[in-house]
Symmetry: C2
């Protein structure tokens, strides 16, 4: 495991991410409440940031109360207490209309769909003049505002800082920042899949080219897996004609050399173990134990199209068809957090899930037993409880940048549960050999995998989990972060002469 | 232009393709009628094959009468007169159920959708046990039967023959044939796009791997463009771990070296010019001239999802919105040949086209003028007539292996018409610089391109067409074929020692 001493670098660190480590809201009594931000990235980073001297976090206000907090700090930054310490935050307000276009029209779904290969191409996307305006007045504009605020902070700190920009919301920040802050070191981390050029071709060149050029303004472009890093090289070569080195993983842009790297993100092991043994999670775990017959199959996901939720139920249905003796003995607990209900396809997707589950329960169930227990909820404690009690965890995304569920669940599971894992989840590179690998479109293969996972011997399950745990604990979140800092230090030194 | 003398090689040539150069049917009077097979490949090859000594064509019987003809030739081959000479044919009957699975479940749509990036991935494909049976008892089985018949013909000719297998129907023929006929030279030509590994990942490895291995059993694997050839190298490296050489365009498979090449297919220039000045085409052209106002925009396509027909109409609609003065002056003639009406998505697609055209005609049209003239017909003479009379030809596929419409239409157009061409059509590599390039998903860009094409000066249109014609005539169908034979001769010699 990484130790706290590793996580240091002798310059200020500025983290730029759309979601912050906390959001503010009003309690029913009217007092201000601080809540942790959601998402694996935020959980991991928040813990880290408390350990790092001289780090701050620039992010978007999400709630109305966030906006209010932002307005109370005209100079920008303020400090918030979070579990483990304090974090320096600055909320970056952007015009509401620009933010709406940036977030709800370009980042999600346009970039998200493109990078996860989700387009039904004969129907969508149809890119109109209005989409072009959304890009220019929304995505470009919000990126500019964030770059401007970041530049201010870099200058406040004397010009020499490490800027770590996160994800597909901010592909253009690098290009704006590069001009303003020549002495800053820029790292951009992409947390979702980077697909091959064929998939980028879905976007017209006036959009895809500045996005890729924006990333190339950084000193390091980082991904979760080697394959995404290689795909990025392929993209730079094929779509921009850049000179790339497939052995050194670099792109030559004029006189600059951009390093392309991969650091599989992980979990704050101690914090997550502590959470899993908290009173609330234990309470939820007891409740879940009540629904167990002999076996419990679990999935925990946002209702995102990329998560492949329908085919998971189809596979479970097939398994029940193939093995009638499982009737009444196995329950599939699906904890699904409703997601992006402002996007039509996501609303339809939830409805399809509901109908399919109803059909399967009607077909196989009886008054005494419903094979699928479907819960559309956002209850984090319940999710962690489910991680503890599963016999089989189904993680079958179509494409997934990393998928932290598989790591978190392995960490705290109390039954030597088996993971059925899609070959297209980023996490498959690290732990695929301890799981049962499936292809996300192959229903029969998933049905067989669920069955084989349920039937696996206790010794085999135990052996797999122990080895898998070792891998996860070795590359924990501290290690993920310190590996990046080491590479930054190394490259920054080599840049010293030209600067 | 290639000359007839170029088209020769001192060994027998066996062409394997799903569709033959002719199909047979019964006239109303009950006599047997021979008709040309459909599709650009068939048109081009038929003319060629009449010029080559010692060539024969193995294909599937399509009609009932074809089956009857097949049964009348128990020894296999027979000769048929076609325009320009005679062709040796052998129909390969396959069990009806196997052929149905092979054709209607695996080749179309599974491989077609995958290679054109047409999946709506959150919904399809869901690959079941029944699909696996369709693959094994359909696709694999029909490939085996074709390979067996081909092997017989190779042996009849003494074992030394050039076998040229065509397209996505027969990816496995190479592997079966390689074992049976060690002295044959095997070339496989893929006429549809070869996408990058990310798109092949939509198929499970038990299906995608034998398909790629099957191709690697050939001596040459050929495509229409350099990009597809490169994508094939990427696929072999990433999905099979083969050793590839990106400079030499080769794949090392054990002791064998597979050459990966590209030969953009073209048109039989003289035959097509003759056709275009035939009485029937002239008659059709006169009829089409009757619908012209000032300008005629034309598209000619099968109603295939990859052809991007809906967005073409949306762009035309947008152009009429943007330029009200065009009302009553321009007509969009869409000649659409209904395609694959046994596949649900294709039936829906035609219905969507119908509704969209009705909406646009209602919105912009009046009792005197309907902006879109939509014809669902299979009338080849009318299509060639449309090539002659267009002012602007819209060719905006999402992805297209080559697209011969753009070449044929340029060849015979009588008005120095302008082509608006998708950057994702294979033909774009050759003639893109003489057209107005568009992105298939960008409606506004296509609307602007249609307008600019209509407004282009006569001098500019003439200059572009003359240069484009030069390129097309230089690389005509004879040249396409003789380039392959030259490479075969060259490589066969270099293989002489190991054989």
């Amino acid at each position: 495991m990484g130790t706290q001493q590793d996580i240091s670098i002798d310059v200020p660190i500025i983290i730029v991410a759309h979601r912050g480590p906390v959001t503010f809201s009003l309690s029913p009594e009217g007092s201000r409440v601080v809540e942790r931000g959601s998402g694996g990235l935020v959980t991991g980073l928040t813990g880290l940031v408390t350990k790092i001297r001289n780090a701050m976090w620039l992010c978007s206000p999400i709630t109305e109360e966030d906006e209010l907090v932002a307005s109370e700090h005209p100079s920008g930054t303020f400090e918030v207490e979070v579990p483990g310490g304090a974090v320096q935050i600055r909320f970056i307000p952007t015009p509401a209309e620009a933010h709406q276009s940036f977030y709800a029209l370009i980042a999600n779904p346009l970039l998200w769909f493109t990078q996860h290969g989700l387009w039904d191409l004969s129907n969508a996307p149809s890119i109109t003049a209005s989409d072009r305006l959304s890009f220019e007045n929304g995505y470009v504009e919000v990126n500019k505002v964030f770059a401007e605020a970041t530049a201010q902070e870099v200058m406040n700190k004397g010009g020499r800082a490490l800027v770590m920009v996160h994800d597909y919301h901010f592909y253009l920040v690098g290009s704006f920042l590069r001009r303003r802050c020549p002495d800053a070191f820029l790292l951009h981390f992409v947390h979702i899949p980077w697909p091959q050029p064929d998939l980028w071709r879905v976007l017209p060149s006036w959009m895809r080219e500045p996005l890729i050029e924006g990333l190339l303004a950084n000193d390091i472009v980082a991904f979760h897996t080697e394959r995404y890093a290689r795909n990025f090289l392929l993209t730079c070569e094929e779509l921009l004609g850049e000179e790339v080195d497939y052995d050194a993983y670099t792109v030559k842009v004029g006189k600059r050399t951009v390093a392309v790297r991969w650091y599989p993100i992980s979990v704050d092991v101690k914090a997550f173990e502590a959470l899993a043994s908290s009173e609330e999670v234990n309470f939820q775990a007891e409740r879940l134990e009540n629904i167990r017959r002999e076996f419990l199959v679990v999935r925990v996901d946002r209702t995102d199209l990329s998560k492949n939720i329908l085919r998971g139920f189809e596979a479970f249905d097939k398994m029940l068809d193939d093995h009638e003796d499982l009737a009444g003995r196995v329950t599939f607990l699906a904890l699904l957090q409703p997601s992006r209900q402002d996007v039509d396809q996501y609303v339809e997707y939830m409805e399809k899930i509901r109908r399919l589950v109803a059909d399967i329960n009607l077909k196989h169930g009886n008054t005494d037993w419903q094979p699928i227990d479907l819960r559309f909820e956002d209850n984090f404690a319940q999710s962690v409880a489910a991680y503890k009690v599963f016999d089989v965890l189904l993680v079958n995304p179509l494409f997934d940048g990393m998928n932290l569920v598989a790591k978190e669940a392995t960490l705290v599971n109390a039954r030597d549960g088996v993971i059925v894992l899609s070959e297209h989840a980023g996490v498959h590179d690290e732990i695929g050999r301890f799981t049962i690998t499936v292809h996300p479109c192959d229903i029969q293969q998933q049905a067989d995998a669920l069955f084989n996972a349920l039937m696996m011997s206790a010794e085999e399950r135990r052996r797999r989990r122990i080895e898998c745990l070792k891998v996860i604990k070795e590359n924990d979140i501290d290690n993920w972060f310190s590996s990046q800092l080491e590479e930054v230090s190394r490259l920054w030194k080599s840049l010293a002469a030209p600067h």
